[in-house]
Symmetry: C2
Subunit: 239 residues, 2 copies
């Protein structure tokens, strides 16, 4: 079995912290990472502050195998992620001619439409590799183990979809879900005994309430199908 | 003007990191904090690991005025937040008789229905204050500047609603939004000039696309209404 690399997501944006915008990007990427055998270990959300972005990126990239950022690479004054990443890696931020070509292809008059604001989106840290943006062309980029992507959800998803196949993942965990129409408090003692006997399996318990019925969804994750099949029968006995 | 205290949210749960569940609790609380003059500075999501929870809580509570946690206080084996918080504060975790009374009131046979699993939900760090749970009675708790709340969204919201009025907030920032039917790249240069002249105002720029129309929403935040009114006219000139 191939071991799973670890990952962290860094969501950047005052609009998330103020509550104006609900972050759905990390949930999208979390699912993609799980399906591809990469273990998402941490998510952080921070504001548009250059120093905080640089410091957090530098901390996370030392802790985890892959770091993904969301947000702050547009054309306006509050888009400071590219600059902060260049600072974190201590490399120059430069106008990338391939990025200019990509962006020019998006506008009717080509390069003539690339004003100084749009040119901001072509500033890429030296040595970085571009991440394609099929929606509005302005690219993201990766540098070492850090993948820098846009915050606009449709663009973030497109960048995720083009990035994921390039990553080396481990064997994805398989999972089973058992729905039990009893409250957590009624099954927790027996469930705990089962969990103790199967310490190699990650077993989560999640209460639900749906159309006036309440109950517990038990989710077990492991790499081996046979282990999960045996466990599934035990869990069904909780009903 | 009263200065704004700072806050962080710590979301705890493997189900968020695996992508199974989208966290909406931090967005709910973010809005409440903003409306009450508390500056949410950071959100972190981590998994169900006792050591990581204790360490993160201890780090965050030294950095920010208020810390809020979401998740991991139910009756099952994977609910380890209360224990981890007791470890972080180096205090015993004990059966809290007031919590037992609250929980007993939720069941037809009162205390006779409090089995060992449900009793787990009554383990509260010594010295903590209970946070009421009008939905299913099992309380959250606060200890010093850390507020420990349930992950189930309806319960998290109810706990937030009962906690917020007890916090000391600063003067909430006022905000204006100006909708401009032009792309960010078309207005960014002029917007940047405005932002430079109004460094005391936090100005964010957010692209949108709605029913095939795209444009930019500009959001400005400041404590003074007159400052915002003047700025609003300038921003409208970008149209």
């Amino acid at each position: 079995m191939k071991p799973q690399p670890t990952a962290a997501i860094l969501v950047i944006g005052d609009e998330i912290l103020s509550g104006r915008t609900l972050d759905s990007n990390s949930n999208y990427l979390a699912n993609e990472l799980t399906n591809n055998g990469i273990n998402l270990s941490e998510v952080r959300v921070i504001g548009d502050e250059a120093k905080k972005i640089s410091e957090t990126v530098n901390f996370l990239r030392g802790q985890y195998d892959y770091i993904f950022t969301s947000g702050g690479i547009g054309p306006t004054h509050d888009d400071i992620t590219a600059e902060a990443i260049a600072t974190a890696f201590n490399v120059p931020l430069e106008i990338n001619s391939a990025a200019v070509d990509l962006l020019a292809s998006h506008y009717p008059n080509g390069k003539a439409d690339i004003n100084s604001a749009r040119l901001r989106m072509c500033r890429i840290p030296e040595g970085a590799t571009l991440i394609q943006n099929p929606i509005s062309k302005a690219p993201g980029f990766s540098i070492e183990n850090v993948f820098v992507m846009a915050g606009v959800p449709s663009i973030f998803r497109a960048m995720t979809d083009s990035t994921i196949p390039q990553l080396v993942g481990g064997d994805p965990l398989l999972s089973i879900s058992v729905r039990i129409e009893k409250g957590e408090g009624d099954i927790a003692t027996k469930l705990s005994e089962i969990a103790k006997k199967h310490k190699e399996v990650s077993i989560g318990s999640y209460p639900f309430s749906q159309n006036g019925r309440y109950g517990t969804m038990i989710v077990a994750r492991h790499k081996d199908k046979d282990v999960l099949n045996k466990l599934e029968r035990k869990l069904q006995n909780l009903m």
